[in-house]
């Protein structure tokens, strides 16, 4: 918007300006002009300008001086600064030209208040030049006969104007052309100057506002010369190994200037210069012999010069030139040390002698060879052995003992003083104490506490401890009066060094004292890899390996174990760095844990990989506490089942593999009543004499039949039942089960059980020889044939004789035949039998007891209750049997009858044979 108005105003201005002009003689003539025209004004001065209107314009446009408006650029100058001198002249005054700017215009306010420009001037504002200061000149020698002089000065403040500087110079009687600077305003170079005549030099600065001159400088150019440095240096070695002669050429004539010199020198590789004393080179010369140099050393020389009286400037240093001094014999013997290896043989050492090559300033030349002399110190030792070697070590096999090693270095000029090393048999002298290290200034400082006795010198051994390389020993000597030194070697940061300090005496040596050190530590390269050794319900045993030396990067100060569950906070445990195992406790069972481990040095730690483990659901012994009882219970159940099955084997056998008698193999035909007589039961006969054994009747009662017995019938048995309940129970488990069996079955079963207890007078109904059925061992037993087939005649007759039609009658007949006592008892055979046992004599009881014991022994897994009841019952029986007879049950068992005497089939036999034969 503002710009648009400006353009409008500018267009109007042009139009009015055009209208204000009149054409005269073909030239455009202004209606007025300003005096002065384009002035150059000093900044800060006052200034007055006049605007003079042409007379011709007065009539043309009724323009007068009182209508003049002064403007600076587009800014109107305040009217207070105007002054109307007459009707055609107006002046404007500025007290300070700093408010001025270009252009300054004279304008007129014409009719209609239209502003019309009459004239304008450009105003240049600046400052007059200041007096140049600090004029100084120097004459540079650029060629042998060319001496340009360069003068510099301070031109002063900026003048804002075009200011010209001129360097003016003259002799008193002669002027020279000015030196005009090019492109600069503060220096100028006069191409050539003449010496020995005073030259007056000054600077003149001039611009539109004035002129200024510096103070003149009067000088003889010879006093400000910076000569060219000497050239063509040459360095020659002299006769002496410590002297070099330097020669050069000066490039300024002695007639012009007498010179003095500075000579500097240094050894190759050194950056610090040494300087020949200036007073030695304060006179003109072209050569100098530098003394006090080291033999066989390459030196670099450089030289400069200046006017002898010191007036002027030093030249630049000349080009460098090198020279080598001649050789001299070595100034000292090499430092020697040893490594003793006694591991191969206790009686012999492998001694590795090693020495340091002499430094160049000690060798004073090229070492051609080393002469090693080994002298045993024992009284019986032979002459010393000498070795000439070119290397810096020598391996010897020596018997244990004390040796003195002497080492001499030879160069072309001569031999060094000998170095002596005493190798004692044992390091029995006082060692150093309190070996310590300290990194300092990028080096590793080793300190120790000296022993009380005088120490000749110390040897500091060190080597880099690493898994990847052997410990290569480096060493250095230190004098006996120090208690600390820097290791002189390439000590690397983050590496472990094993440092050992030995104290050497004139007559022995102290044992080495070692310490490990790092020049600089860092975090470990990796963290320990942790894993579980054992995980329990609430604890886990963590194990890890120590970091290798190369991985440690510093002294491991501690380990920290971090562990957490999946969603839990991390727990940290700090562990001693010597440990490789740690037990985390108070863990949650059956929980996944993540564990990691950090190893810390002084500089920080680094974590190893994460390891996860899950705690167990059950603690130690909990599973056993559950499983064992379960197993035991299971076993017990199984056992009970087995026992049950065993007890019910007959029933099971009957259902699973019933015994089917084979008539063809029936032995009934061979049966003879004398068979029992064959058995020699003399003793038994004695024990159970014919007729003495009360016939036992077995009465089988069907469960349903029990009801058929009246209470009265049962009463007489109550007492006995109470007394023999265990016996009955036992009997029912063995043979007595026949009572509970079916009548038919019980005949066969009870037949055996009861008949075996009967005397030989018991009629054996039949003998059945069984072949092994399936895996059953065939046992020859007596049994009644249960075949339904017609029996043999004798049998049939016997059966017929018995007259029994049904089984019951048969059984009754059978028991009657056996017992032959009371046929009335056939209605209740079991009770009858029991009842008849009661009056049995003591010998019968013994046999019964014997049976009980045997049966007990065969029933290994009998119920405790049964056993107890048996035991409770047995003493009662035994008590009575002992009272009557001396026969002891164990004696019966301990004196079994001989094979000839063994009955073919009888229960006691089978009992003796260790097995209970149910048949």
């Amino acid at each position: 918007m503002f710009s648009g108005w400006n353009w409008v105003a500018y267009g109007l201005y042009i139009l009015l300006n055009f209208c204000s002009l009149e054409v005269s003689g073909g030239l455009v003539q202004s209606c007025g002009h300003i005096i002065p025209e384009s002035p150059v004004l000093a900044l800060g001065s006052n200034f007055t300008a006049l605007c003079i209107l042409n007379e011709s314009c007065l009539d043309f446009g009724n323009i007068y001086a009182n209508q003049i408006i002064w403007k600076i650029k587009n800014r109107v100058v305040p009217k207070e600064q105007y002054r109307e001198i007459n009707r055609t002249v107006s002046s404007v005054t500025f007290n300070d030209t700093s408010s001025l700017a270009t252009p300054l215009t004279c304008n007129i306010l014409a009719d209609g208040q239209i502003e019309q420009n009459i004239y304008g001037i450009a105003v240049t504002i600046g400052l007059p030049p200041e007096k140049p200061k600090n004029l100084s000149c120097i004459v540079h020698q650029v060629l042998k006969l060319t001496y340009p002089m360069t003068c510099t000065w301070n031109p002063g403040r900026h003048t804002f104007l075009d200011t010209h500087f001129r360097l003016k110079y003259r002799w008193p009687q002669e002027n020279f052309p000015d030196c005009i600077p090019k492109d600069v305003n503060n220096s100028c170079t006069i191409p050539d100057v003449q010496f020995f005549v005073n030259l007056e030099v000054w600077v003149e600065a001039a611009n539109a506002l004035g002129k200024a001159e510096s103070d003149p400088l009067v000088l003889d150019p010879i006093e400000i010369v910076k000569p060219l440095p000497p050239h063509n240096l040459s360095v020659n070695s002299g006769i002496l190994p410590t002297v070099l002669k330097i020669s050069w050429e000066n490039r300024i004539s002695g007639s012009v200037m007498k010179l003095k010199f500075n000579i500097r020198y240094r050894t190759i590789g050194d950056t610090n210069w040494m300087q020949v004393p200036p007073e030695d080179t304060a006179s003109p010369r072209t050569s100098f012999s530098v003394q006090g140099l080291r033999p066989y050393t390459e030196y670099v020389f450089s030289i400069r010069c200046m006017k002898e009286d010191g007036v002027g400037y030093w030249s630049d240093w000349s080009e460098e030139k090198t020279g080598v001094t001649t050789e001299d014999k070595p100034s000292k013997g090499p430092s020697v040390w040893r490594i003793i290896d006694a591991s191969h043989s206790p009686a012999f050492w492998t001694v590795r002698l090693m020495w340091k090559a002499l430094e160049p300033f000690e060798a004073n030349g090229i070492i051609l060879q080393y002469e090693v002399t080994v002298r045993a110190k024992s009284s019986l030792s032979g002459p010393p052995e000498k070795y000439n070697v070119n290397t810096t070590n020598l391996i010897l096999k020596l018997p244990n003992g004390t040796y003195e090693v002497t080492l001499i270095a030879h160069n072309r000029v001569g031999a060094s003083p000998p170095s002596v090393l005493l190798i004692p048999a044992t390091n029995s002298k006082a060692p150093v104490k309190n070996v310590r290290t300290l990194p300092k200034d990028g080096k590793l400082w080793v300190g120790w506490t000296a022993p009380n006795s005088y120490v000749l010198k110390y040897v500091i051994e060190w080597c880099l401890v690493s898994n990847s390389s052997d410990c290569i020993i480096e060493w250095q000597n230190e004098p006996g009066n120090v208690q600390g030194t820097y290791l002189k070697g390439d000590i690397k940061p983050f590496k472990c060094y094993l440092i050992t300090v030995y104290s050497l005496y004139a007559d022995g040596q102290g044992s080495g004292q070692s310490v490990k050190a790092y020049l600089q530590q860092d975090r470990p390269s990796k963290g320990p890899t942790v894993q579980t050794k054992k995980v329990g319900k609430a604890e886990a045993v963590l194990t890890w390996n120590h970091l290798t030396v190369d991985e440690q990067n510093g002294f491991i100060r501690s380990y920290t174990i971090f562990y957490k569950t999946v969603d839990g906070n991390e727990t940290a445990v700090t562990v001693d760095p010597s440990k490789t195992e740690y037990t985390l406790s108070s863990l949650t069972s059956d929980t996944l844990y993540t564990v990691r481990m950090m190893a810390y040095t002084d500089e920080g730690g680094r974590s190893g990989p994460d390891f996860t483990f899950t705690t167990q659901k059950f603690g130690k012994g909990e599973i056993e506490a559950i499983v064992v009882p379960v197993c035991l219970a299971f076993l017990l159940i199984v056992l009970l089942g087995v026992l049950f099955c065993f007890n019910k084997r007959d029933l099971i056998k009957k259902h699973i593999w019933p015994i089917v008698p084979d008539p063809s193999k029936s032995n009934i035909a061979q049966w003879s009543p004398q068979v029992p007589a064959k058995h020699n039961f003399s003793s038994k006969d004695q024990m159970y004499p014919e007729g003495s054994f009360t016939d036992v009747s077995v009465v089988e009662i069907e469960a349903d039949d029990k009801k058929s017995f009246s209470e009265q019938d049962l009463k007489p048995f109550d007492l006995l039942k109470k007394e023999k309940s265990t016996s009955e129970g036992h009997s029912s488990g063995i043979g007595g089960s026949s009572c509970m069996s079916s009548p038919r079955q019980s005949v066969s079963d009870s037949d055996e059980g009861e008949t075996t207890q009967n005397t030989s007078s018991t009629v054996q109904y039949s003998t059945v020889v069984l072949n092994g059925y399936r895996d059953q061992t065939p046992v020859q037993v007596f049994s009644r044939s249960e075949s339904t087939q017609p029996l043999l005649d004798s049998e049939e007759r016997s059966e017929d004789h018995s007259g029994g039609g049904d089984s019951t009658s048969q059984r009754q007949q059978y028991f009657k035949q056996n017992g032959g006592q009371d046929e009335t008892n056939t209605d209740r055979p079991c009770f009858e039998r029991t009842k008849q046992i009661t009056p049995a004599n003591e010998g019968d009881l013994v046999g019964f007891a014997q049976l009980q014991i045997s049966g007990q022994s065969s029933q290994l897994l009998g119920l405790g209750l049964e056993k107890n009841t048996q035991e409770a019952a047995l003493p009662d029986v035994l008590q009575r049997s002992i009272e009557g007879q001396t026969v002891r049950p164990d004696k019966v068992e301990g004196n079994p009858p001989s094979a000839d005497e063994m009955p073919k089939s009888y229960l006691p036999q089978t009992v003796r044979q260790g097995g209970y034969m149910p048949q």
């Binding site: 002669e174 050539d192 020995f196 005549v197 007639s255």
Partner: protein, 195 residues
Amino acid sequence: MAAADSPSAALRRRDLCSRGIRLAGKMRSDVVDLLDTYVERQGLDASASVAAVEGVPAAAVERWDEQTGTQRLLENLAAYRAFRVLLSQMLEEHREQLGEADAALGRALASVLLQVSAFAYHLEELLRLESRGPPSEEGAPPPPAPHLGLFERKLRGLGVLRELAQWAVRSTRDLRQLTKPSLGSGLAPSRAESP
């Protein structure tokens, strides 16, 4: 004489002598170098014999040791004023002949000319210290440049430079003679000194 007796005047005189000696030495050195250059550039034979240059006092003089200091200074001043004119002529001729083609020789001539002027200034100053003042140059107008051929001009230039070299040596001796404390201004030099 009063000025000559003052300590500052003595120091000034001594300084002028000292620097004059060194200027003469440098001038001789430069002239010798210039002679070599001149002979080479002008195609002359270094062993060419040249007749004495007209207007230049001979450097060789009999009874040199009998001269007074002022006398020495006056003879030197006359000689160097003559050399100044001659060298200016040579320089002009050189510029006319070669323009800027042989700027080195021209610069060397200009340099020697400046030194001659400087030495003349020294002599004038010494004469002023002798309370005598230098004779005006108008009294001894420079000889007009003879119309000579090119070769003759070269030979003449060679002669000027040779004579200047000799004068440089003599001037050195003269000034040294002046610096001796036994020698006051205008006093007869000791006979022991001879050029």
